[in-house]
């Protein structure tokens, strides 16, 4: 199987997730899009790993997963906290940090 | 080899850090102890200095960042040693003179320099710590023999000074501190570009190195040399400060405490003129010669402009600040006249300017503290109430106007006469400055000290100089007098380095007497 196809697939997923981050307001969906980006890059890493015949790519993907897990835990906790105080799950509502 | 210079620079910095742990009077005592030990060390270093040897002494060198050729390199030459001594001497003086300054404002107490109800932002320990930090950075800058290292300290010294102005100043201190920092940083960034450029040129000629000794061996093309010179010179002219980059100085010293103003005008500003000799002349001799007419005209403008502004000043601190602009004009004039006498005189002038500014600022500060106002028109007849204080103010004023017998005269004379031997016209125009100096110094003294004491003065000037105030001022006055009549110890330190710089790097020898046979 041609690795190019996987890379293109990874790029497609990444770009879709990117678009999601930019157009969606629901903080959970934005967050899921971020996870999707991580997954897309994982796919690329695994592909590279196979391409170059080295397991380091898979290790990288593994670490990405670990980090993603940690990130999700903290991120969701933050979301919950914000929701508690602001009663909103829209990222547009959390816009105090501006000029 | 024993790292004398590192220890010399580190001592005050350690002292500054120690301020984290002590407060109040203990902080002042600890700070004073550190500054005195530094002074003793500086004197020891001065005694180990050998005036006969060329090049840097007590040198230390270690590679710091290999990729760009930066070194941790310290060394001492005559010019650096002079300024090291000045710095080490002024710091304890400032600490003693400002003993009660940082304590004064308890919340709501209207005791700030301009009489408004401004309180200091932090306590005495912060003040002492910042003064010591300024001292330490200045010492490192004066001893750095690596351009990159020098640049580091040239910039970082802005920060303790910024907090000294912004934390302990008058009502408009925030504005003044901001202006100070922005000017300094602007100059710093221009210099950074030149420093990077210099590094690139150095890398093109082999392994990159910022060591002064390596950089002086570079053969720069005319254009490159001029551009780099301009980059460095702008930074130094801002720090010095020369017209038209001067406007931060009057504002900054106006808003500073007297101690802060001494560290600012007496120590930190010397970095600019010091660097002109050390870096502009040594690294870019041809460009320096190329720029001489412009620099000298600017220097003369500074002399006269600063003096005129001082005459027109209504604020004591501001007036002294303007006199500094005028004096820095003399220093730059001397440096760029490229005669041994003028450049030695300029270096000596740096020392003397530090001393006379200190005397003036401190004496004026003692008056301001008593009166609670910096406004000249608020004084009058001080001499009747506190003769010693007024006498020392007069002493400072006379030192500022370079009265013969004061050390400042020696240097001013050397600058003027040395300049005359190469550029008579410039020297004659600059001499007008001495008449204007008499005007601003004596008008200031007349308006504040003489006449019938005003009601406010009689009421507030009840005690003459206290013991600590005397302890701070009298040594300064003594040094000014002794050097005025016997400048040899300092001149013999300065002269070999300066003539070395001029002959080795700039490649100019002093003009011979014009009516032959007359000379010895």
């Amino acid at each position: 199987m041609d690795p190019q196809a996987y890379i293109v697939m990874s790029a497609i997923l990444f770009s879709i997730a990117l678009l999601g981050v930019m157009i969606r307001r629901n903080v959970l969906i934005v967050f899921m899009c971020i996870e999707l980006m991580l997954n897309a890059s994982n796919l690329a890493l695994v592909t590279f790993s196979r391409m170059h015949g080295s397991l380091d790519g898979q290790i990288a993907a593994f670490f990405v997963m670990v980090v993603a897990a940690a990130e999700v835990v903290v991120g969701l906790a933050i979301i919950v906290t914000i929701y508690r105080t602001r009663r909103s799950a829209s990222v547009d509502d959390a816009n105090l940090l501006k000029f | 080899m024993f790292p004398w210079l590192t220890i010399l620079g580190l001592l005050p910095l350690i002292g500054g850090l120690a301020m984290i742990f002590v407060r109040g009077t203990a902080a002042k005592q600890v700070g004073l102890a550190f500054s005195l030990v530094t002074l003793v060390l500086a004197i020891i270093v001065a005694f180990t200095y050998n005036t006969g040897t060329k090049g840097f002494q007590l040198a230390e060198q270690a590679t710091w960042i290999k990729a760009i050729g930066a070194h941790y390199a310290l060394g001492l030459d005559g010019i650096g040693l002079t300024l090291v001594l000045l710095t080490a001497f002024l710091t304890p003086v400032v600490l003693i003179a400002s003993w009660n300054d940082p304590d004064l404002p308890k919340p709501g107490e209207p005791v700030s320099p301009d009489g408004t109800a401004v309180t200091h932002r932090w306590g005495a320990h912060a003040f002492v710590g910042l003064i010591l930090a300024t001292e330490g950075f200045a010492l490192f800058a004066f001893t750095a023999t690596d351009v990159f290292l020098f640049y580091l300290f040239f910039e970082v010294i802005l920060f303790p000074m910024y907090f000294l102005i912004g934390g302990f100043g008058g009502a408009r201190r925030a504005y003044a501190a901001g202006k100070f920092l922005l000017f300094g940083l602007f100059g710093g960034f221009v210099m950074l570009a030149a420093v990077i450029g210099l590094g690139i040129v150095s890398a093109q000629h082999g392994a990159p190195s910022y060591l002064l000794t390596d950089l002086t061996q570079l053969h720069l093309s005319t254009n490159v040399e001029r551009w780099l010179f301009v980059g460095f010179m702008i930074a130094f002219a801002i720090k010095a400060p020369m017209v038209p980059f001067h406007t931060w100085l009057p504002d900054s010293v106006e808003q500073s405490t007297p101690g802060g103003a001494v560290m600012l005008a007496g120590v930190m500003d010397k970095l600019g003129t010091f660097a002109m000799i050390r870096f502009c002349l040594q690294l870019f001799p041809d460009a320096s010669k190329w720029a001489t007419p412009v620099v000298m005209v600017l220097a003369i403008i500074s002399i006269i402009y600063g003096a005129l502004m001082a005459i027109g000043s209504k604020d004591l601190h501001r007036l002294i600040g303007w006199t500094s602009v005028s004096h820095f004009g003399f220093i730059v004039l001397g440096i760029f006249a490229f005669t041994t006498q003028s450049a030695s005189g300029a270096t000596f002038y740096m020392l003397n300017h530090g001393l006379s500014t200190a005397a003036l600022f401190l004496a004026a500060g003692f008056m301001i503290k008593r009166r609670g106002s910096r406004d000249i028109s608020d004084f009058g007849g001080v001499v009747k109430a506190t003769p010693l204080l007024a006498g020392l103010l007069l002493f400072g004023a006379l030192s500022a106007l370079a009265l013969p017998g004061m050390s400042s005269f020696i240097s001013e004379f050397m600058v003027l006469a040395g300049t005359f031997s190469r550029h008579p016209i410039y020297a004659v125009v600059a001499t007008i400055g001495i008449v204007l100096a008499a005007l601003y110094a004596l008008i200031m003294y007349q308006r504040t000290a003489t006449g019938v004491p005003t009601a406010a003065v009689t009421e507030k000037f009840t005690v003459d100089l206290s013991g600590k105030e005397r302890l701070a001022l009298i040594p300064v006055a003594l040094v000014i007098l002794v050097l005025g009549f016997f400048p040899k110890p300092i001149l013999s330190i300065i002269n070999p380095t300066v003539s070395d710089t001029l002959t080795q790097h700039v490649g100019l020898t002093d003009p011979q007497p014009h009516a032959s046979e007359g000379g010895r």
Binding site: S49, L76, Y83, D92 | -
Partner: protein, 297 residues
């Protein structure tokens, strides 16, 4: 060696590619977060298959266990707290954001294709050798993790602990007031009753019926109304509360069935289930229309 026309890997890829793209689009286009999450789950499982197809069995398992199993479930839990009433309108509020976002994403996609896609030239080396070196993929990874990457691995443990602690700290609500005693609670409740007439007792439990006994089933009051407060407000807002009419329908049928007996035996007649004219304002009016009951079955 002759390459077979269609391998298992390419079959899996081409089969799952539309699923993944649709899933990804579903993730970003669904109105409700739950649907997004489910779409994402589909993508992740499909990705796991791709890992398997690319000689990464360990990651295949981990992908399913960690991502689909743990992370997505966490999302769903949080969604229960947060996402109930967050079905957002898809109308864009920031001017020009959508167009620019699409342009940027497209540009980025092209850039990725050009930049990364060109990095792969030639045939893949394959992992057979690397996997077999230590007797398998998992063993190979283990050798790397506990060998070359042991420091990073240890660091991740610190990261995970920190994250766990951080989550606890964030989720923990600091008590700003003294905890109320039971006596105080009662006093307060009764004062409220005196002032506003709020019911001081426990709320009624959901209804329990022969055919409905879930939490979304409101209880019926004695007069045939439903007790609104017996159902969680979350469910109410979501609109998944049982229609009261349906609940009443069996009773109605029963009543109709025994109507003849009632006529003969007026003494045993029950009170009318028609709501009392003085219905409390907060009650939900059951709509009792004859035609409705027929439609239910």
């Amino acid at each position: 060696m002759i390459v077979p026309l269609v391998t298992g890997a390419s079959f899996a890829f081409w089969m799952l590619m539309p699923v993944m793209i649709l899933g990804a689009l579903g993730t970003i286009l669904a109105r409700k977060p739950v649907h997004s999450a489910l779409s994402l789950a589909a993508v992740m499982v499909s990705l796991a298959v791709q890992y398997a197809a690319q000689q990464a069995p360990f990651l295949f398992a981990v992908q399913i266990i960690v991502y689909t199993g743990a992370i997505l479930m966490l999302f769903l839990f949080v969604m229960m707290i947060v996402g109930v009433d967050t079905s957002e309108s898809l109308v864009e509020t920031i001017k020009g954001q959508r167009v620019l976002a699409i342009l940027a994403a497209l540009g980025f996609f092209i850039l990725l294709i050009f930049a990364v896609g060109n990095a792969l030239v030639g045939r893949p080396t394959g992992l057979a050798q690397a996997n077999n070196a230590n007797g398998g993929n998992v063993q190979g990874l283990a050798a790397l993790i506990f060998g070359r990457y042991v420091v990073a691995f240890e660091a991740t443990s610190a990261l995970l602990i920190t994250a766990a602690l951080g989550a606890m700290v964030l989720a923990h609500r600091e008590r700003t007031r003294k905890k109320k005693t039971q006596a105080e609670l009662v006093t307060e409740r009764l004062r409220k009753y005196a002032e506003t007439g709020a019911h001081p007792g426990a709320l009624p439990p959901p209804g329990v019926y022969a055919r409905h006994n879930a939490v979304d089933t409101p209880a019926l009051l004695a007069n045939g109304e439903i007790a609104e407060v017996s159902v969680s407000s979350t469910l109410r807002q979501r609109g998944s509360v049982q229609n009261p009419a349906d609940l009443i329908a069996p009773t109605k049928q029963t009543v109709q069935a025994i109507a003849p007996d009632r006529a003969e035996n007026p003494a045993t007649a029950v009170a009318s289930y028609v709501p009392h004219p003085a219905t409390p304002a907060r009650g939900i009016q059951p709509e009792l229309e004859p035609g409705e009951s027929e439609e239910e079955n």
